[in-house]
Structures are given as C-alpha cells and as structure tokens.
Symmetry: C2
Subunit: 504 residues, 2 copies
C-alpha cells in the first residue's frame, strides 16, 4: 500500500493517480537494473524516511532508492523519466524546512550510501567526497594534518555535504569563512535525464556560467549531486573566545555593529537574549551572567600576535558600549566552556517546552534591537514563549518558538507566529532564510519577498533543468507555472511557434 | 550606411537583412522615446564604439544608445523586442576577449552615462552604484574613511563595475579577497523583455537561486545590469611587499606552493619570468635582479603584529627554496616601488614589440614550471617571443605574445599560438580563462573544455533569460541551438506537446 496519504501533510501536493499506477512497473524496472541492497520497499523500513527535521510533517514515499554509485543514480533517473515518476533527493534528513519531505507519488533518492572520501589533496587544499559524507567527517579526515572544513551547521555530526550544498548551509563560523557556496570548488551532477555533468574542480575556474553557485542552495530542484570537491583550510594557530554581557539588547546590538565597523571580522559572533541565557545556564550551570539582558560570544582566530592584538580592540569596543561583564578564554579548554552553552542552547530550550519550532530569518544588523522587541510583543499576542539564540554578526536570527503539539491548534499557532516573524524580517529589509532553506516550511511566504516576475524568472531556471517539474516538486515555489508559459513562446493557431533565431 | 560589415570581423555572425531593414523604424521609435543625448547616430561618433580592447577586431553597430536611467534601459529593450533587434551591452570597453564587440545588425547599449554613486553605507560596509562607475572610483569615494573595493583589474582606472560583473574580473588581490563574484551583494537587472528585477541587497540573503553568482561572469548574455551593491573592506592596518628572486621557475613554483601549503594567503603573489623581468627592468630601472630565472612579488597585509610574523615565515620558506635575492619593503613608498614594475609590465613588453596579445588561462599551481617550459618550446615553433607576468598564487597565467600586425599572417600566427597555450591549460587540468572571459576570443575553444551536454546545459540557462538569442549573440557559445531543441519537449505530429505537469 504505497498510496496512503498522511493526513497531516496539508502542505504537500495531491498525488496523481496515473503516477501511482506505475508502481508495479517502477519496482520491476528498478529491480532489473539495481542490486537488491539499493532498494527499500518494505513498509516498515519506509517509515524511517517519512520525514526530516521539520516537526509535524510525515509522508511515506512510493519507495526509496539508495544508490551505491553515480551510475546507479543515473539509471534510477532514466527509469523515473521513462515512467514520469517524481524524485525527492535526501541527504542526512536533517532539513529544518522540509526539504527532504517525501511525496506519496514519488521516490526518495537517498544519498547516504555514497559516503566515500575519494581524494585528500593537501597541495591544492581540497578534499573530494561523495555527497553522503557527513560535514564533520570531512574535518575529521584532515584534522591530523592541521586542516578543517569551515562551514559548521549545528547538525554537523549528522548532516551530509550533499544536503549542505542543497541548502547552502552556514554555521557559527560562516561570518568569517563563508557559507557552503564559498567553500565548494567542484561538483558532479546527474541531470533529470540521467546525464552526468562536471562543474569546477580542484583549480580556479572562471569559464562559463557559475553553475557551482547556482546549484548551491537550489534545494534539490535542479539535479542530483554525486561528487563534491570542497576547499579545506589550515586550522588557525590560535583561537580565543570572549563572553561579553550587556544589560540590554540595544547595547549588544550596537557592540556588534561597532566591531564589524572597525574592520574586524570575528570567526564567530553569537548572541543570546535573556530568555535563552537563563535557559542555558539552568541546563548547563556554566556561570553565565544570568541577570544580563543580552550576551555575546565572540571568537577571534588567526596568528597568535594578531589575535592578542584584536582581543584588546574588541574589549575596548565592548567597554565603550557599557559591557557589564567580559570574560576571555585563556586556553582551548576555557574556550570550549564558553562555547558549550551556545551549543547546548537548543536542547536547553527544548527542556523547558514540550515542542519548539526553530525559525530562520535574516535582518540588517542595525534593526536587531527593534526586531527582538517586536518579537516580545508577538510572544504576548500568541501566548507562546520565544527564545533567541543567533548569528548576530551576519544578522541571521534563529527564534525558538515554544509550544505543545498535543494541545489542539497550538502547532498552527506556533507556525503563524513564525510566519509573522519572517514577514517582519522581510519588512525591515531582511530575507526569509539564512541557512535552512525555503522547502515546504516557507514556500507560501515567498510572495511576501518576491514579485511575480521574480518568481517567474526563478522558475525559468528551474525549467532549464527540469521542465516537467519532477525533481522535488512542492518545495520552494508557491505555485508552479507550466514551463511553456514562461518561455516567451508565441502560440499561433494552437501550436507553439518559435521566433526565428539568428543564423550563424 | 549602418550596414557595412568590417572585413576583419571574421569571427562575428553574418548580419540578417530583415533586421537591418528595421533601421529607419528603430531610429524613429528610439527618438520618440529617448532624449537626444541618449542616442548616437553619427557615423564618425559610432566609430568610437567599433571595438573594445581585443586587438584587430572592428565592427560599427547600427547605432549606440547611452541611456541616462534604468527606465531608459527598459524602454530601449522593449523597442528592441518589438523590432527583433540584437543588443550588445558595453561598459568601459576594456574587454580583452571582445565581449563588447558590436554587431552590424545590433545596437550597442553603452552604460557609461549611468555613473552615479547612489549610496555609501559604512555601517553595512557597502556602496550602491550605477554600472558605469569605474572600479577605481568606488575605492576613491570611500578611501577618505579608510575603506576600499578589493578587486583590482589592471584596467581599473577605465573599466566599469558593470563590465567587471559581466566578466567576473579579478586582479592582483583576488587571491586573498576574491573575484568580483565574492564582492557583490546586490544587483538590479533589466531583462530582455524590459522587466526590472532586484537580486540581493545590502544584507545577507540566502533565499532562492543564486542569481548574483549566475549573473556575475555571464558576459552580457543574460540581461542588462543597472545598479550594483558592492562590499567595501577596511583598508588593512599595514601592507608589506616582498620581492623574491629564484634562479629557475621550478624553485619559484615550489615556493608558491609551499607558501599556500603553510596556510598563508598573501594579498597578492605575482610572478614574472626572466623575459618579462628583463623587459620591465630595462623600461623602469628599478634594480630588479635581472639575472634571475623567475621573480615573485608577495604582498602580506593585515594587523601590524600579524604581518611582521608572516613576513618571517614567508622569508624562511623562500630560503628553503633557494631564493637568490629577497627584498622587503620598509614603508609604503618602498612597497610601491616594488609593485611599480609589475604594474608597468604590459607597457614594458609593449615597448619591445609592435603588437602583443594578452592571453588569460588558469592552471593547477603544481604544473607552473612544466607549462612555462612548454610555452618556451611553442615560442620557438611559432617564431614569436612570449613574456609571462601572472597571478601565480591562483595559477592564473597572462602570457604576452609579441607580434607585428603589419606583417601579413602574423596576427593569425599569434592567435594560433595563444590557442595552443589555452589548449595546454585545459590539458593539464586548468581552464580557458581566469578573468578575461570567453567573448569572441575563446568562443571556438569552448569545445576543448566542455562536452556537448555541458554546452547544452549552459544554453538552457541562456534560453531561460533570452530565448531568441538577442543579447550579445556570437559571444561565448561556439554554436547556438534553438531553445526548443534544448527544452526536453516532445514533438508530436509537427506540433510541440508539453508533458503533463503535476497539479497543485
């Protein structure tokens, strides 16, 4: 019974009966072409793939393919093309926006078995991996030689590099070292037709359109990534963390702006509001300044001489902005203690609430105090608590909305609160997402940010890769146009006529 | 007589008679909609637009539009759409790959009058400008406050930011600070249909496809850029230059690899071979070590403490690699003296030769000595001298091939030599261009680098923006396919049928 539609999947498209009818043929074709271990057909086993990290949404796919090679990916896509089957790609399943949420009339293409590290090349400072390798493992394989992979999402132990590319993931250190898009050198892509393409590689490449950039952050709508070349960085000689407390978010917000304005780009600059601060300190007992209105963790890294010099400058800026408490790590152990609370912030908030919704929006740095205060007002209106733990340096907010899913209507209320926060982000000049992607979660908010013509131009790109919308449909775009509508083509007496093209 | 085809424009497409016949109507429509100062019709005045910095290619356009506002750009594009006229965008006209070479049956859309600095925002470290603002001017307007714009192509006094985006320009400092694509935060684009779209802006933006990346380096084939938001950086506290000489290119090449391998990213790392070195020293008398086989200029910048520390490390690496001469700048004046020779390298080589062709290809760093030696062999084969002055840190070569255009056949010989160099770049794992673009110059070499399926996927992107190929046709793509051929559409009984799309 692969046709069952979960009743909570309200955001997902209705399955098409003629696609569902292909099920027996699909299984036969896949079994003919793929080894048994590459197929998951058992209903209990499929349940493990029915959701990702977006709370409250479940849907079993028709079946799951776990290819063992690029060729198996290509074969699967060719079979899906022949039978008009939809494909939902999946990495580690940690998407917070529902990017890997299955379709009742589609397959899940899970890349977890493509988990080989294929090449470590120190001379060119890069590593070539398959997409199912976890983010953390890339750092692990080069750490012995003093290197690391910079983007570090909170889920780095579980999330895969393929998923990082799909969502253009960030992390604490992306303020200084960039998002995934700034750390990728090459990709291998299998197109919807099963063709295998290479983009970029180990060396500088400036020829042709920037497909690396285009594919990074495309949320699985353009093709299947089967190989990735990432840049690795030399671990800095020294890193120091500062903990800086302020009596109010206004002082903290001004401090952030002043540090950046002084030409200093810290390796990380994280902020917690008083709610998050209290939750974390109760959970971990780290001796955080509980009475503070806002607390910042600032990390500075580089050559020892440089870091010592920068610490002094940042300390002076903190004092100018009325810091009430400053602590500076003297060694790596103290640095880790300062960070421990930040890393435990989500579970700490989780311990206070049955359920929580982790939002992701980005705002101009100077609007930080206003947005945080507006959120307090919304919290009263909805009667739901909200804690803020976020990447202050680049204005990337992560409000955690607390609710109880077992109370009827409370999940919907939390989602409405979240949508209001994101609309506010767009209103003050920010955007809908910093690093979690649009997925299904923010799909219906896209129109608050983009005009109709913007969305059409985005869909023309989609059509250039996947004209029949079989790759991850139902994600990102609030409405799907037929590609023909977008193609500038003239319809003449019922048939499509293409204008004459220049002759060469 | 706007129909005249220059006889040396062998690489350009043949003009279409029915387009040329639109000339009187085009003039009438443009005169009706644009102020007189936005139109160039006079044949003598048009001669100033008949070429860019690619030597030996000339073609007068039908006419030139120099719009004074985004709205005038949109109006012009709508008129061109109605009359099926081609458009060649032009910035400062400094393209070395013929990116702004006009078409006999197209207009040139020159953005030079769109040269306003619209906003300087230090709090958000960015500047908003129109596309005709020169690269140098952006730095000039913020220099008083200690800021600068990082990418610095050699032509920075004349080239415009719009052209920099079209070609994804680099420069000496892009090793550390990135190419244009890494320094652009927002764009306004007028589409081929005259719609005005906004991408990115002053703040972090991770929503939707990476149009900023896609448009940067798209060589004027996707749309007209009418506004740009660039990132500005705080000028480093101190910068020091080192001049390091080696007896052979092998030692110099290994030194480059060892510096990068030690985790140091210099602000610039430039190399000259002995031919260039001698030419420069004869021209400027800077006391360069003339007997050296290779000379490097390494710039290190940052906090004073950091730079002092790095200089020592780089000096040690130089000594390990048998440096024959090391000089370190003690102040900014000495630093400028060290750089003066590098900046004069092109005119210095020019003084030795009637004409020269400046090539642009990129190779893996470890192949540097082999490629330089292979070029010497080619030089013998073609009987033409070649000098090498290049961005060694990122493997971006700029061979200068010397020839005399007044000797029949010698330009063709120089171009064949250049093509052989670029083919070699691709063969050793590099690419066709580092920062000059493909344009007409390297168009016919694209197939040495890309498969047919690669080129088709690139053209699907082109079709998503400009399905009738009216924007800068004849550039980048060796052959143009009709968009319909690329669209995965099924032809059924002579008419085009679109497969059913998922219903939402």
């Amino acid at each position: 019974m692969p046709y069952e539609l979960e009743n909570n999947a309200v955001l997902m498209p209705k399955p098409e009966k003629d696609v569902l009818d292909q099920y027996p043929l699909l299984i036969a074709r896949l079994q003919e072409s793929l080894p048994a271990e590459s197929l998951v057909l058992d209903q209990d086993a499929l349940a493990a793939f029915d959701s990702d990290a977006l709370a409250g949404y479940h849907q079993k796919p028709m079946l799951v393919v776990l290819p063992g090679s690029t060729e198996e990916v290509a074969v699967t896509l060719k079979i899906c093309r022949d039978l008009n089957i939809k494909i939902v790609p999946r990495g580690g399943g940690t998407s917070l926006s529902g990017g890997a949420l299955p379709l009742a009339d589609g397959i899940v293409l899970g890349l977890s078995r493509l988990n080989k590290v294929k090449d470590i090349d120190y001379a060119n400072r890069c590593v070539v991996v398959e997409p199912g390798v976890t983010n953390q493992r890339i750092t692990d394989v080069v750490a012995g030689n003093g290197f690391y992979y910079a983007p570090d999402p909170s889920s780095q132990i579980a999330c895969t590099i393929g998923g990082n590319i799909a969502e253009n993931s960030g992390g604490v250190h992306c303020l200084k070292y960039g998002l995934t898009t700034n750390n990728i050198l090459g990709l291998e892509l299998v197109t919807i037709d099963g063709d295998i393409l290479q983009f970029g590689g180990k060396f500088m490449d400036d020829t042709g359109y920037d497909f690396l950039g285009l594919l990074t952050g495309s949320e699985g709508l353009l093709g299947i990534i089967t190989e990735v070349t990432v840049r690795i960085l030399k671990k800095p000689e020294v890193a120091k963390a500062m903990l800086v407390a302020f009596s109010c978010v206004e002082d903290g917000g001004r401090f952030v702006g002043d540090v950046i304005g002084a030409g200093i780009i810290p390796a990380g600059m994280e902020m917690m509001d008083s709610f998050a601060l209290t939750a974390v300190d109760n959970y971990c007992q780290l001796g955080y300044p509980k009475d503070a209105g806002a607390m910042l963790i600032v990390e500075l890294d580089g050559r020892r001489a440089e870091v010592d010099d920068l610490i002094q400058t940042v300390e002076a800026i903190a004092n100018t902005n009325n810091a009430t408490n400053i602590r500076i790590s003297r060694d790596d152990q103290e640095r880790e203690t300062i960070w421990r609370g930040r890393k435990a912030a989500f579970p700490a908030v989780g311990s206070l609430s049955q359920d929580y919704l982790c939002m992701d929006g980005t705002i101009p740095r100077h609007t930080l105090p206003d947005v945080l205060n507006a959120m307090k007002e919304m919290s009263k209106k909805y009667g739901l608590d909200v804690a803020n733990v976020f990447h202050a340096g680049d204005g990337n907010l992560h409000p955690l909305i607390m609710y109880n899913a077992s109370i009827a209507g409370e999940q919907a209320k939390a989602e409405a609160f979240g949508a209001d926060i994101l609309k506010l982000c767009v209103e003050v000049g920010g955007v809908l997402t910093g690093e979690h992607g649009v997925g299904v979660e923010k799909r219906d908010l896209m129109e608050t940010m983009f005009t109709d013509e913007d969305l059409k131009q985005q869909q023309r790109i989609k059509c250039a890769f996947d004209p029949n919308h079989r790759l991850n449909p139902g994600k990102v775009f609030p409405t799907l146009h037929r590609c023909a509508e977008l193609g500038h083509m003239h319809v003449h007496k019922g048939s499509v006529k293409f204008p004459d093209l220049p002759r060469f």
